[in-house]
Symmetry: none
Subunit: 232 residues, 4 copies
């Protein structure tokens, strides 16, 4: 169950430069996830990626640079897949609960990415913005639908998000099990004003598992017929 090297996989069919860059990013994810963004030295990253230290600087300006690249990629991918998975859900209560649960599922399915994401949220303000946009949309939808009885503003969003992140962290660190997603979701709905009964029902409804993936099938030769969705 070693590291999955999602970036390397993604760059499989790209040029040499892109592949080297991807190897560095995978190495960085692994170390960032384990030790945070400060601890790993550039040399360590290069060594783990199995290349000369100088090569790092061919592809990134410095550690901050790769950290941001890695982090933004992860956040985008996470959010994109999350959004995709909820495309056909309309009810805000359902959406909010599902977002929390699936987000935790996804971020948990690839521990390094989840950890790196978790660290990134605190380290880089930009990453937050990316994610929060979606969250805000769902909360406002709920307000419009009359399902939530609280004011939706930055304060609420921050609070809400921190609950999700805390649950995620608990799962990643092994303190909590798979039910964590449902538990926070239920608490969040209660907080928002959803009646306790409905909160419980929605938050605990069975949900198919999600796995974080990165588009992998051949790119360059180009799949002639665009299938409905190239991913599971």
């Amino acid at each position: 169950m070693g590291p999955t090297r999602l970036f390397t996989n993604e760059a499989r069919n790209l040029g040499k430069s892109a592949r080297t860059r991807a190897r560095l990013m995978d190495a960085a994810v692994e170390l960032f996830a384990r030790d945070g963004f400060e601890a790993p030295s550039v040399n360590e990253i290069a060594r783990l990626a199995d290349m000369a230290n100088g090569t790092f600087y061919v592809h990134f300006r410095d550690k901050q640079d790769i950290a941001l690249a890695v982090t933004v990629s992860i956040a985008q991918e996470l959010v994109r897949q999350l959004d995709e998975a909820m495309a056909d859900v309309d009810d805000a209560v359902e959406r909010v609960a599902m977002a929390t649960r699936r987000f935790i599922d996804l971020a948990t399915s690839e521990a390094d990415w989840g950890n790196a994401f978790f660290r990134a949220i605190w380290a880089f303000r930009d990453v937050r913005g990316n994610v929060i946009t979606y969250l805000r949309a769902d909360l406002e939808r709920g307000a419009r639908q009359g399902a939530f009885t609280v004011e939706v503003d930055d304060f609420l969003i921050d609070t809400f998000a921190s609950m999700t992140m805390t649950a995620l962290f608990g799962v990643l660190s092994g303190d909590f099990g798979g039910e964590a997603g449902s538990r926070v979701a239920e608490l969040q709905l209660r907080m928002l004003g959803v009646p306790a009964g409905r909160a419980k029902t929605v938050a605990w409804r069975k949900l198919p598992n999600l796995r974080l993936t990165i588009a992998t099938l051949p790119r360059d030769p180009a799949p002639r017929v665009r299938k409905p969705s190239p991913r599971a």
Copy 2:
């Protein structure tokens, strides 16, 4: 408006060694609060405390050591004063809301301490334990009193605590104003199952301001009424 040097103040009447140690701790708080636990070098701490770098090692094994000393002290003091201020409150709903609000008040009244505390919570697991004991007690009291309709366990406590911390952080970083305490408190009560009306009433009830102090020997011209102090 400069730093308050609470440790130095506390050690005012102690031996020279204790006073030197306190100066180091005050310097450390100031730097930790501003730059986190990694960034400041031992030399910087010593320089800010206005003593030779070698002196640091007379009093602390290493940076980790002083960081722990500092944060544990802060946490203890914070919790102690919080507890003291709520000694005569019995109702769990009131206690829980008040704890959240006053905690934020206290931690906010001395920005460096608040920031250092905030950082410590993530960096040192031990500091959490200290604080959480009190929190658990109040939540369990509420469960026994039938005021809360959720299961009280580690998961709930973590979630609850992260909400408070998020509000605290928002205030410290200037994103939110003084009402943040009431806002989280209200959200927390709703989450716990307190009816929306009561949650609002309790969370927004006027409360006298608290200021973090390190009670010790008679202050400057010395207020006679204050009892000697709980510490040497």
Copy 3:
């Protein structure tokens, strides 16, 4: 007002390889003139020449190599044009004064070349030799003609040359204006033994301006009168 790219211009009608080489040399002159011979990296030179770093090594062994190529070329060109401009002057006093003045004019008319030359004189002994031959000839002519009352040897030549170079540097760095040529020339003649009056007359006599060029194939719309050019 941008750089003149004299080498590129000179190689205009040569093979591709020669043109690439010339572009590198122009880039090198520009950087050497600005930052000296050590500071610019091979990568910088290549980047300024708008080609891949590897290409550099197709044309030059290393930085020393291009530095020499560049400065020897500059020195030759400078001296050649200087010599050409004085072909019909016979009197040593006139020649010596004119050489100094026109040398400064030329080296000044193309600031990068002037600066690179100036730097080269100190860095590469070889470059000196090239220039000094001409200088010695004129000084010896003056001695034969009885115009100079000092012994002409290496010491005198060095001293004389350093005076010219100092004036050149002053002009290039903006400390002195256009009259610098005449001033040194006058001082030099006095030093050599030319009576003060004559020294002044000769050194300040009006002189048409010279511009450093790399004569090659017909210029833009092509001045017909100029003979084909002394080079391929």
Copy 4:
């Protein structure tokens, strides 16, 4: 005939810090003299001074810092001793010739210092100022005394100085012998307008040798009776 370690010698009776600093400066002089100010790495300097690389940074901010320290010291010492040696000479013609000759003698007597000084003149504009002040004074004195028939201004001073420096460089590099001082001095006087005969007489008059020294006798314990001159 190894290196003389003048700084170390000077700091003999000072504190430990000053002595370490002096050792670094001596090492720096040796390397700067041989390779210029760019080539030697900080590590090389520390290694030659026989201490850990980190120690360098206890005493100097960076290479520029030590280069300046070294250079300013050398220039000051050189100028001070030169000035001292000419204290009782009044005639400007004599002074000017003597200054040039003795300056070359001094700078030559301690080759490393001379070389370092020579390099410094080109690298640090500030060092020039120091030296040039004295030079200007003598030239202006000559003008006042009616001995010189040229205008004394920056241009003249630069030219004059470059002649001296060129002679110095020639001696240091072994191209010229001990008579170089007299030769330039004679040329300089001619240039300034001193009749050829007088120029020769003054410039070649026998002069006792000078040696660059640094005050060396016991400092701290303090010599009770100030002798007329503590130096040879």
